[in-house]
Amino acid sequence: MTEKNSKNIFFDGAIIASFIAEQIQKHSTKTNIGAHSIFLGQVRNDLIDDKKVAAIEYTTYKEMALEKMLEIREVIFDKYALTCMHIYHSLGKVNAGEISLFVFASSQHRRAAIDACNDVVERIKNELPVWGKEIFEDETYTWKQNTNG
């Protein structure tokens, strides 16, 4: 388990655009990269039973999630010719319109970055022990259910 791989993916609160820009900018020194594929999950203000979602509050089983994330990283790096991959997931409250998931895969040729990014997003949604509590404008809540799309 390298230092690079054991890093924390969790982010306190929303992921802000300037942080994403910094991450992109950092890669300009890696001149063997030809393609970046980025996925951003944004909190929607869905209507559920006539109530509007104002925010999602995320919690995790952190020790298990970080262990799982290492497993996912290994599978992905074995499967695709990636140069690097960075993943950030919010914990705590993220308001509608804000970003809660940031997946960033880079490779020499585009296919690897695009396919790896897509694959990782599916695995994060299905395999990472994270829960979202959808908080309505009136402060009541419901537990988020992930869909397949």
Binding site: G41, Y61, K68, I124, L128, P129, V130, W131, W143, N146
Partner: protein
């Protein structure tokens, strides 16, 4: 032993860490939990033992790390 509780199961069980007398295996655990918290019978959840989701009945010890995981909804 302590059972970690997550997501909507916290609403059912009322706490994030549930102290529990040691039981032999996960089948016994599920049975006892359902007796104590009848709504669990109708809820979908997985059991993680030492941070891995188990598919089959698994032996438990005092220091086993046990967690109840409702369906994930990250991202």
């Amino acid at each position: 032993m302590i059972i970690k509780i997550f997501g909507q199961l916290i609403d059912v069980i009322g706490k994030e860490n549930l102290a529990f007398d040691v039981v032999e295996d996960t089948n016994a655990l599920i049975k006892k939990l359902q007796e104590m918290y009848p709504p669990l019978t109708n809820l979908k959840y997985a059991i993680a033992i030492n941070k891995k989701i188990i598919q089959n009945n698994t032996a438990l010890k005092q220091d086993t790390e046990i967690a109840l995981l409702p369906p994930f909804s990250g991202g």
